[in-house]
Symmetry: C2
């Protein structure tokens, strides 16, 4: 696959960051173009419309999600540790794209909803394969969603103690195995 021009990717990154930081409203083509270091016309060469810009972001998310799930399953600490760790990780490649998508879903872009559903399902399955307990797997993904929701709303590190959560989950799994 031919490497897309740098400006295109820069535009996508700028779009995601503005959506996360200031909301969808603020992510006007003009503002995105400026942040990407091109003009509005230049941006509209790469993406023929705002819809196309959103579609580009969702494609990017799909790619990153696939990688993320593969990493989860391969993580020596386990899928649960991975999902909690990355949920709270400010500064990853994945996070701004995911949170921007949450934002877009709530701004009324229905395609964004579908993308999030797909990610959630993939995560839950990976966690389930590790813990082997449906109820706990659902709860773990819910915790991860809660952490992301905090990041999306407050726009910064969430301050949630991941080690603490992992400890709770380990205790819970142990208690359920015993009973």
């Amino acid at each position: 696959m031919a490497r897309p021009p740098a400006a295109r990717q820069r535009a996508l990154d700028a779009f995601a960051h503005i959506v996360v930081r200031d909301g969808e409203r603020a992510a006007a083509l003009e503002a995105v173009a400026r942040a990407a270091g091109i003009s509005k016309g230049g941006l509209l060469y790469h993406f023929g419309s705002k819809e196309a810009l959103v579609a580009g972001l969702l494609e990017h998310l799909a790619r990153l999600t696939e990688e993320d799930v593969a990493e989860m399953r391969a993580d020596p600490e386990g899928a649960t540790a991975h999902i909690l760790r990355t949920s709270a990780q400010f500064g990853s490649d994945f996070e701004p794209v995911y949170i921007a998508t949450v934002n877009l879903a709530q701004a009324g872009y229905d395609e964004a909803r579908a993308a999030l559903r797909a990610a959630d399902t993939a995560w839950r399955e990976a966690v389930l394969d590790e813990v082997g307990d449906e109820a706990v797997a659902r709860a773990i993904v819910l915790l991860s969603d809660g952490i992301y929701a905090h990041a999306a709303v407050y726009g910064g590190p969430t301050g949630h103690d991941i080690a603490e959560l992992r400890g709770l989950i380990a205790q819970l799994l142990a208690a359920r195995r015993d009973s």
Copy 2:
């Protein structure tokens, strides 16, 4: 306090519902007015600007949150049961106002962020007073946030099994008391 005219409250409700259903973008003054059964001019009589409309919604949220926390603390099943139950409750008065506020926070209205922080803190304290375990209290509020995030993104009942979550939490608390 003088009872505000009915049209005002109808406008507020309409605003919240459109924001939840279709996003902030779709909640144009025109659309809100139509849904409330008044004209754009009539709406702008009650709320001099869109900012004022948002402020009105946040005030409403503050009132409802106060009531909700009082109910939590008085709930015979306990604060934890209450927060999980109401998080998943589609059709309450509280839910659309809360989710609309989440949406507005992400659309860039900073005052909405502050309102959400206040609600989260009040909830966590109420839960903590019940369970007496900081880590578990944080996790419970996080689960509730996760449930709300689902409702906000997917716009309907979340399908999370509250009884299941309550069971997990009870098991966890028991395990921690033993150790």
